[in-house]
């Protein structure tokens, strides 16, 4: 599940890299979405009263379809152009992590059964939610759904996050949306978290906003290269290696700063003999997984947002899954309307941010340090500096 403690580490050392944004501010942006994780989130989150999943007449779970359909419509209404990226085969090195997850699920299932027996409804619900797993049939239905909605679907050869990151790096999309912090380790310039929470009906009122993480600002905040950042992430504990007991994010950062890179850190730790380094600890292989993961070349992908296939959508959602027909019809109307609006351009595609011009706002910062903003304005802090010196 990503990189342990990375969010907090960035919050402490590179606060300028993290920003709360309005979902609307992503208007007109293409966003690559980690589909497998989203489907899992919908399975967990979309429930009837009482905690049961939504099901069709045959008793098959339809929570994922409901979540995917409604929230995708909502994104499109906001003018966002989503691309869904599905996982391929996991890399071999992830098998340990996957094994752990399977075991955790089995444990949850047992715990749920026990809670039901004991009549503890709250606990039972909690554990039942953890049992969910995404079946191949669910994934297939989701792809059918998205294609019928006219939304592009990309099948990653390996990890979806890596594919999304490659697409964002290549400029094919503006950003990627995932909860996994290792998206940054894979090199996405911008990561959006909590996008689904922000796309929920009523999220505006509750003040739930997506967060963006800016890689360049993170690197300049931590004052390190991308390679070193990857090393810190591996030390923090990632999906591909066991973590080193006793080393958390802060320690990891300090060690990489001190020794320069991961191999040197490992050697130094081995020399100290204080920590037990998992054996094997394949530094080069894991780095390779992050720095040049197996992905489909973004240059070979064309993303096209097409017409809605009304008949296809109704067959899947109304006939097969027993959604109310009106819901689906209104969803289709909303997609069509938003497609019409998608011809609106963004002003910042014409006018570019000026780092120097914003310097005057460096004059009266009331809280926090100099405006550590998006990386593109990294010069802003510097530009503001002479002004401060004058005071």
């Amino acid at each position: 599940m990503g990189i342990k403690g990375l969010t907090k580490l960035l919050g402490d050392h590179a606060p300028g890299a993290i920003k709360d944004v309005e979902l609307k501010s992503l208007f007109g942006r293409k966003v690559a979405i980690d589909a497998s994780m989203s489907i899992y989130q919908f399975l967990v989150a979309v429930r009837q009263a009482g905690g049961d999943s939504l099901t069709n007449d045959a008793g098959d779970v339809t929570s994922h379809l409901s979540g995917l359909f409604h929230r995708t419509v909502r994104l499109m209404e906001m003018g966002i152009k989503p691309v869904y990226v599905f996982d391929g085969a996991p890399p071999e090195m992830k098998s340990g992590e996957l094994q752990k997850r399977t075991e955790a699920k089995a444990a949850a299932k047992a715990a749920a059964a026990k809670a039901v027996e004991e009549g503890n409804a709250e606990l039972a619900e909690k554990y039942t939610r953890r049992v969910n797993s995404v079946t191949p049939a669910m994934t297939a239905d989701c792809k059918t759904l998205l294609r019928a909605m006219g939304v592009p679907v990309v099948e990653a050869p390996c990890e979806a996050e890596a594919q999304c990151a490659a697409m964002a790096k290549a400029g094919l999309v503006y950003a990627m949306a995932s909860e996994d912090m290792d998206s940054l380790t894979f090199g996405t310039p911008i990561l959006i978290r909590q996008m689904w929470a922000g796309a929920r009906a009523g999220a505006d009122k509750k003040g739930v906003k997506p967060m963006t993480f800016n890689l360049e600002a993170a690197l300049s905040g931590l004052d390190m290269t991308m390679d070193q950042f990857v090393d810190v992430c591996i030390l923090c504990g990632c999906d591909y290696t066991d973590s080193i007991k006793g080393i958390g994010p802060t320690k990891a950062l300090a060690l990489v700063r001190k020794y320069g890179d991961l191999s040197a850190v490992i050697n130094a730790l081995k020399g100290e003999g204080k920590y037990s380094i998992p054996d094997p600890f394949p530094v080069e292989e894991v780095r390779e997984l992050f720095l040049s993961p197996k992905v489909a070349d973004p240059a070979g992908l064309t993303l096209k947002w097409g017409e809605v296939d009304e008949a296809g959508l109704k067959a899947l959602l109304v006939e097969q899954s027993q959604f109310k027909e009106e819901t689906v019809t209104s969803g289709i109307a909303r997609i069509r309307k938003s497609m019409k609006n998608s011809t609106q351009g963004r002003l910042d595609s014409f006018f570019k941010p000026v780092p120097g011009a914003a310097a005057s706002s460096g004059g009266t910062k009331r809280k926090g340090g100099p405006g550590g903003k998006a990386a593109s304005t990294a010069g802003k802090g510097k530009a503001a500096a002479p002004k401060k010196a004058k005071k």
Partner: protein, 264 residues
């Protein structure tokens, strides 16, 4: 220390009316030149640029550049307390100021209201707007006329196509109930200069815009008798209102609609 006194609080009130529906918050950048606000709507489709020149104030003093981060809805509440003929004085400390003072004085000087408005730290991007763009078509017309056109047509459709040709300027809308076309022509002989319509054209120009934003722009009409609309293919539209002779301006920029073919 920043201190500025404007004889007519109404001007400031109208400036705020002109921006507050479109943007929620912004930095009022104060410098020797004057007070400048640049802000975008949340979807980053339009931008507003306001300048109130120092010389347009009765008194203007700005020792150091500073940015007053203001929630516009809050400033609007404060300004609503200003009477029609009140003068307004704005004050802020240079360093570490977390409030700005707004003081309204009635014309007779018998009523003084002071507010301390809480400032915010607003992290906003400053966009570089090129000054040297040449536009292929420019329409200058009475601002009330512009407001009326937009308000009439916005009931029909949510986009408007502005077409300037040798026959004049036309505003075309299409909606569920049908289509509309409104045509205006140059009229440079009206008695009052502010009633004149001047259409200048380098070459025929046709571009489509979202009505919603143009409606926001018409909120600035009370600031100025005339409005200047400049357009060119595939660049943002500019709608400009000048305040007084040399007091300042409110300029809006709007990204055009992209034609289907360019979409991907």
């Amino acid at each position: 220390m920043f201190e500025a006194r404007m004889a007519q609080a109404t001007v400031l009130k109208r400036v705020l009316e002109a921006v507050k529906d479109m943007v929620n918050e912004g930095n009022f950048d104060c410098s020797e030149e004057g007070i400048c606000l640049q802000a975008m709507d949340v979807a980053h489709v339009s931008l507003v640029n306001v300048l109130l020149r120092g010389q347009g104030f009765e008194m203007f003093r700005c020792d150091r550049n500073l940015a007053l981060g203001i929630q516009l809805a809050n400033l609007s509440k404060v300004l609503n307390c200003a009477g029609k003929d009140d003068a307004v004085t704005i004050k802020a400390e240079d360093e570490g100021a977390d409030t700005a003072e707004f003081m309204f004085e009635s014309a007779k000087g018998d009523r003084i209201t002071t507010f301390e408005l809480t400032l915010m730290d607003i992290d906003s991007e400053h966009l570089g707007v090129p000054e040297d763009t040449t536009y292929t078509a420019v329409i200058k017309m009475p601002s009330n006329e512009f407001r009326r056109i937009i308000s009439d047509l916005s009931t029909i459709g949510d986009t408007v196509t502005i077409e300037v040709s040798k026959d004049g300027a036309s505003f075309q809308v299409a909606g569920d109930i049908g289509k509309g076309n409104l045509c205006i022509q140059s009229n440079t002989s009206a008695d009052k200069p502010s009633d004149r319509v001047e259409i200048t054209m380098e070459e025929p120009t046709k571009q489509t815009y979202a009505m919603r934003y143009l409606t926001f722009f018409t909120k600035a009409a009370p600031l100025s008798d005339t409005v200047t609309i400049s357009l060119s293919p595939d660049v943002p539209l500019v709608v400009e209102f000048n305040i007084g002779e040399e007091v300042g301006f409110v300029k809006y920029y709007l990204a055009p609609k992209i034609t289907e073919g360019d979409l991907e």
